[in-house]
């Protein structure tokens, strides 16, 4: 997994609540047996005017000019600013894969759906929860200032903006210690768990007495 330490990038505002994983990556793209290549189909049904299917040449498809990701001022965005309950719905890890493949590394929202939130950390994505009022301020700042950039520092757990960008932000965010550690180091969780193989065996031996029908 790719490490996440510190990043400065443009933030793109997706101003709607309950963005579900079907919207993030529609089901026809879930037929892939690979982990990569989902980026061009991120938000497919909002991003393009036609119906997307796997195998299409996305560069020739009609773009929806009204969709926020298609506006040139957000072309190089790597931070997604979102509303409540982002990532609700299906457990598909294809959703964080698509965001990551597109180039997004940070999502800032007032709340996330649990499974999506969890899946982000397995893929080097940093989901940040901030109070709704602060999210409102960020949306306003992004809309008001073209080229508005944020710096995300995971080590310091801070979000800042440059004074020159129009609005000044300097806020801290909370994050679970274990998740922060894994992201900072880019750790393989399976290897971490296998360090406790002996504990797992001890647990199993105990359970063989209590629930023998499961062994």
């Amino acid at each position: 997994m790719e490490k996440f330490t510190k990043m400065t990038a443009i933030a793109v505002p997706l101003d709607r609540a309950n963005v579900d994983t079907d919207a993030i990556i529609p089901k026809q793209f879930l037929k892939s047996i690979k982990r990569s290549g989902f980026g061009p189909n991120l938000f497919d049904q909002w991003r393009y005017l036609d119906h997307g299917e796997p195998g299409m040449d996305n560069s020739t498809r009609p773009i929806n000019p009204d969709f926020i990701l298609n506006q040139s001022r957000y072309a190089n965005a790597r931070i997604l600013l979102a509303r409540d309950n982002f990532g609700c719905g299906s457990s598909r890890e294809h959703a964080p894969w698509a965001l990551e493949d597109y180039g997004i590394r940070v999502i800032i929202a007032p709340s996330f759906a649990d499974i999506f939130y969890n899946n982000c950390f397995k893929n080097g994505l940093l989901p940040i929860i901030l109070p709704a009022a602060m999210i409102d301020e960020l949306f306003n700042a992004v809309f008001a200032n073209e080229g508005f950039q944020l710096t995300i520092d995971l080590q310091q757990q801070k979000i800042t903006s440059e004074a020159s960008s129009g609005s000044v932000f300097d806020v801290s965010f909370e994050l679970d210690k274990f998740r922060r550690h894994c992201l900072l180091e880019g750790l393989d969780e399976i290897a971490l768990t296998l360090e406790h193989a002996q504990d797992i065996r001890i647990y199993e031996n105990k359970q063989k007495e209590i629930t023998p029908w499961l062994f």
Partner: protein, 501 residues
Amino acid sequence: MSAKTLYDKLWDSHVVRENDDGTSLLYIDRQLIHEVTSPQAFEGLRTANRQPWKLSANLATPDHNVPTTDREQGIADPVSKLQVDTLDSNCDYFAITEFKMNDIRQGIVHVVSPEQGATLPGMTLVCGDSHTSTHGAFGTLAFGIGTSEVEHVLATQCLIQKKSKNMLILVNGQLNKGVTAKDIILAIIGKIGTAGGTGYAIEFAGDAVRSLSMEGRMTMSNMAIEAGARAGMVAVDDTTIEYVRGRPFSPDKEHWQQAVEYWQNFYSDADARFDKTITLEAGDIKPQVTWGTSPEMTIAIDETIPDPASESDPVKQEGMRSALSYMGLTAGKAISEVPVDVVFIGSCTNSRIEDIRAAAEVVKGKNVSAAIKQALVVPGSGLIKQQAEKEGLDKILLAAGFEWREPGCSMCLAMNADRLEPQQRCASTSNRNFEGRQGQGGRTHLVSPAMAAAAAIAGHFVDLQSIADNSYLVEDSYLVDDSYLVDDSYLVDNSYLTNKG
């Protein structure tokens, strides 16, 4: 020892070790595997040269991509075919038990596992699918995971987890006739919202829940995730134990008594503390129909479509406007006047034998309205299909004008060939009414099987209780006649089994 909730007991009995940072290593008793969220996990296992930790903990079946029409020709879509073939070859390679597409036991994972007794009380169960919450109906800690975690469980039989908070949802009293588990859960989601359960494990309790069959409890737990909760549970009682008895993967005679005594511990202690409690009166719940693009956008059949202007929160108001526009509906219109194009009875929410019986009961001797372009019944498993045919339900449904299909996820998410055309409006017994869920531009209204069947006959949504000929409501035999739970010979006769897991 202090009082514990059902969730506390399930959690505590599966902690392998507690880490310093507040996370725990949680042991997983059962993993269900399907073709969509597993290929990258198997590939990861191979790349790292790892083996599955405990083979017998895994059970696989293809469901999302399988055709529901004649399967003799295989899968027409090459991309779908590759995904199903990949599951087959991965299961063969690692020697994981799989019910392949043409096995009578194949079906939707969340239907197959309980039916086989692979879902048992007191266990932890995961699957790369959010509707894994279904299995909580058995007093099981069951939740959906992503593909990285599928790989993690394959390799270690464990997950690194942080404990959720406890929520109790009490449904007191008795349901009115024609009101089902689906209506209860939609009413709950309407009340607490799609994020209401985020961060919580929900326990459903109260007289109305207690009197539900296992099928009904599964319908409720299935949609806990639509309320934001990864897990939704019901405590173990006699209904649970009787359902589990004699199934292929259930404990054998030698262990049965020990198992029953163990399972009977899985309930919340009387003085257990919940972080949040929600109470509903069953008698207040009417048949539900969703009107928007989120399961929380639900109303009773006798209500009108709400007006965004009445919502004070601007983000929610915008959500309502955009939902009305997508759904092609206007505020103030009675939901019972909304015409339907397609009816879908199926999915891991409502494709079990009780659901098919309920639909057949409503349409018996009647005809699907000429206004309906397609009416589909897709049983949840090959064994349910077989049982329904034994009872003659297929003939009732076919005679009324329904199509009778092979088992799979089908039009719930339209990964196979079953899908809505743009702007088609569907009365669906599935679980999600998101934009494009049943096909790009398709408009989904979530309802119970009886409500879907009634809409097929009427050509629009209709109050079951207002239909003149509602003998099936007075009779109500499909709700109380659960002889199939005892009889259940279609499962006890498991001569087809070669691998007893």
